[in-house]
């Protein structure tokens, strides 16, 4: 699941870079340019939102008789700020 997240993010950033370059080239028609612009803005906002999420999971990887499982990791300290 997270693989998908990482890959989707990387794909989005790559696509965004491509759009930025294409648009900067200035060889597109107005219609195409507007479409790319809209897509680019949407991608960049999506990526930024992903990097601004504030939910995380901390788990422990357990192994019993060759089988893996995840358990909640007990964070001993509350945020010290």
């Amino acid at each position: 699941m997270t693989k998908e997240k990482k890959e989707r993010f990387e794909d989005d950033v790559k696509r965004l870079q491509k759009i930025v370059d294409e648009l900067a080239d200035g060889k597109l028609t107005l219609g195409e340019s507007l479409k790319k612009y809209e897509e680019g803005i949407k991608l960049s906002q999506g990526c930024s939102a992903t990097l601004n999420e504030a939910q995380r999971k901390v788990q422990t990887l357990m192994k019993k008789e060759g089988k893996y499982s995840l358990e909640k990791f007990a964070e001993d300290s509350e945020p010290q700020e």
């Binding site: 699941m1 997270t2 693989k3 997240k5 990482k6 993010f9 990387e10 950033v13 965004l16 870079q17 759009i19 930025v20 648009l23 900067a24 200035g26 597109l28 107005l30 340019s33 507007l34 612009y37 680019g40 803005i41 960049s44 906002q45 990526c47 930024s48 992903t50 990097l51 601004n52 999420e53 504030a54 939910q55 995380r56 999971k57 901390v58 788990q59 422990t60 990887l61 192994k63 893996y68 995840l70 990791f73 964070e75 001993d76 300290s77 945020p79 010290q80 700020e81």
Partner: protein, 420 residues
């Protein structure tokens, strides 16, 4: 001459002469040598090192002017952590032994340690060299970290400061990162096996995007597990990108050298992720700016192109105006010329008219002469012969005229002419 035969052999033919067997004298030498030296420390440079199939080591210790044969049996050399190599300066502990079958003496080595540096350091240097030769540190093998590792695996102690630092810094700087921790011992005999095992576990388990292999600061001995070959190889073989973050600033471990990314402390490992996040956010911002300025430029360029086209559309009008102007100029010139011609013509005309006036019969009338014409035909009467009594004639004066009837025709009027 008395015959005196010289007794050349008398001295060695003495009665107390004792002849040793080789084994006897060797035995004596063995006794004397081995008893008089006992256990000794000897320093020298290793040469002709050989590791026999039996597991025993054979080599020589030498200095500028002497050589001492040495043997280290497998029972003793198992404890040696580093590799004994020719050229190494060593301090050996053992006993002098005579080996009868070869008639030589040698040092039976029980302990061997490098001179100058610790055995550990030497072992480290040797392993480092070996792994370097194998290519474990090669840049070409290093995997890039993903743009953003959204799920991180952490190999470290669940108790130490390392895990706490990493969790805290990520919570503050990149709170969207999920973490999976595989707790291991990070010092002591079992640690290297556990660390290597955990790296393999993560590779089998999958799900994470990168690994942090970490331990907080400590003495060089404390960090030693991260210098073990098994750990270095596990990191090298990891398909997941690895970040090694062991110890404190100055310590560089073999883990550090093998890992894809190496930072000095656990905190620094977490900061890499936070920095990446900040750089990415700034990049994304820049992309948005770039997109906006690009689209504005596209629009500006189109506007400009439109203006140029509009200009091109107006230009026939301009040309028309130009032509009109030209025509205006021409016609102004034309007018001037015509006027000039007219003036000249008029002058000529008045001249001619003046001349005509001089020649006109009417001008004679003004001097008192008159002109008579036949009333019917209008023929000017120059000769009386053509007149008859009763003809009506019109006489034109300078001012006005009158009509009269002929009463008498006088054909010769010479006298009268003379009278004039």
């Amino acid at each position: 001459m008395p015959k005196v035969a010289p007794d050349l052999f008398s001295q060695i033919k003495g009665p107390e002469r004792h002849i040793y067997k080789v084994r006897e004298i060797t035995k004596d030498i063995k006794l004397i040598l081995e008893n008089s030296f006992g256990e000794v420390w000897v320093e020298g440079e290793v040469s002709n090192f050989k590791s026999a199939a039996s597991g025993h080591f054979y080599f020589s210790l030498k200095d500028e002017s002497a050589v001492l044969a040495a043997a280290m049996f497998s029972r003793a050399n198992k404890e040696v952590k580093f590799k004994i190599e020719d050229g190494l300066k060593m301090v050996c502990f053992g006993r002098i032994d005579v080996y009868p079958p070869r008639g030589n003496y040698q040092l039976i080595v029980e302990k061997i340690e490098p001179k100058g540096i610790g055995a550990r350091q030497l072992a480290f240097e040797q392993l480092k060299k070996k792994l370097f030769k194998e290519g474990l540190f090669e840049q070409a093998h290093k995997k890039p970290l993903p743009a953003m590792p959204f799920k991180l695996g952490v190999v470290t102690s669940s108790q130490g400061a390392a895990v706490r630092d990493i969790l805290q810094i990520l919570r503050k700087g990149a709170p969207f990162i999920d973490l999976i921790i595989r707790p291991v011992r990070v010092q002591g005999e079992a640690a290297s096996g556990e660390i290597a095992g955990a790296i393999e576990d993560f590779n089998k388990f999958g799900q994470v995007d990168a690994l942090i292999i970490s331990r907080g600061g400590g003495s060089i001995e404390d960090l030693w597990s991260f210098n073990e070959e098994i750990v270095a190889r596990a990191i090298y073989n990891s398909k997941l990108p690895t970040i090694s973050a062991v110890g404190h600033q100055i310590n560089i471990t073999l883990s550090d050298l093998v890992a894809d990314v190496f930072v000095e402390t656990p905190s620094a490992a977490a900061k890499i992720i936070v920095d990446r996040r900040n750089v990415l956010l700034a990049d994304l911002d820049n992309y948005r700016h770039s997109l906006s300025s690009s689209i504005l430029e596209v629009i500006y360029n189109l506007k400009h192109a439109l203006a140029v086209l509009l200009g091109a559309l107006i230009s026939p009008l301009d040309r028309l105006l130009e032509k009109q102007q030209l025509i205006d100029e021409f016609s102004a010139g034309l007018n001037r010329q015509i006027r000039q011609i007219l003036n000249i013509t008029q002058e000529k005309l008045s001249y001619i008219i003046e001349k005509l006036e001089v020649l006109s019969p009417l001008s004679v009338l003004s001097r008192g002469y008159s002109l008579s014409t036949q009333l019917g035909t209008g023929e000017i009467i120059k000769d009386a012969v053509k007149l008859n009594e009763g003809d009506k004639i019109k006489t034109i004066l300078d001012k006005g005229s009158f009509i009269s009837t002929v009463r008498e025709v006088i054909k010769d009027d010479k006298r009268e002419k003379r009278a004039f």
